[in-house]
Amino acid sequence: MKILAVCGFGVGSSMVLKMTLEKVVMELGLNADVKNTDIASAKAEEADVYFTSAELKPDIESSTSKPVYAIKRYMDKNEVLQAMNDFLAHRGEK
């Protein structure tokens, strides 16, 4: 599974979101590859699921059919864990 963490420039906030996602991936024992990138590259890169902010979510959704989750606090492991569990629960329903 490929997971993308996305922010405006792909070098700061998304890096931190990636760190949080990696913790969650490890905790859940998922076989996943987490990458971080900027919004422009994210729109051209395929992934199974995208994590970003509420502000950037619509922009990514306009260029992919894959699920996009908005995270309010990139450093909040519980919030990211909840979003990931939501994704895992609904995966394959479409």
Partner: protein
């Protein structure tokens, strides 16, 4: 021999600020003084918040302020501003402003990872919120540029 990322000069403690723009300018001043960034970089950070919203507030009271790498950046730099009173950043309260200036997409990642791992530890996070400059500089002493 590399120097430590944070020192007496680039860690600042203030009581409060007029608004987040004011706080961001103050936070960036040490980097402007040491020629790590130009004033353009500060304007780029402000424009980014205005365009993309306050997503850089990564957890309660902590904002990682930065703009596109390389534009208005002469060398890698970080500075820290702690405000005793929370400052509103487009709807989110912030006390810790970490300004990050990167020259490219990769050279800052190690330092950033180290700094963020320290911030993710609740005990260290509290030390920063306590706004004691000496204690903060000492805590980050292991993180090199």
């Amino acid at each position: 021999m590399s120097e430590t990322l944070f020192n007496e000069k680039n860690v600042q403690i203030i009581d409060g600020a007029h608004d987040w723009r004011d706080a961001l300018w103050q936070a960036s001043l040490p980097l402007i003084k040491e020629d790590a960034i130009t004033t353009d970089y500060v304007l780029n950070m402000i424009a980014s918040v205005e365009k993309n919203g306050p997503y850089m507030v990564l957890t309660d009271y902590f904002a990682l302020m930065h703009a596109r790498p390389g534009q208005g950046v002469n060398k890698l730099g970080m500075s820290l501003l702690i405000s005793r009173k929370a400052i509103d950043l487009e709807g989110k309260p912030v006390k810790i402003f970490l300004v990050m200036a990167a020259v490219d997409n990769t050279s800052h990642l190690q330092s950033l990872q180290k700094v963020v791992s320290i911030l993710m530890d609740p005990k260290s996070y509290q030390i920063i919120l306590n706004a004691n400059k000496k204690a903060i500089v000492a805590m980050f002493a292991k993180v090199k540029v």
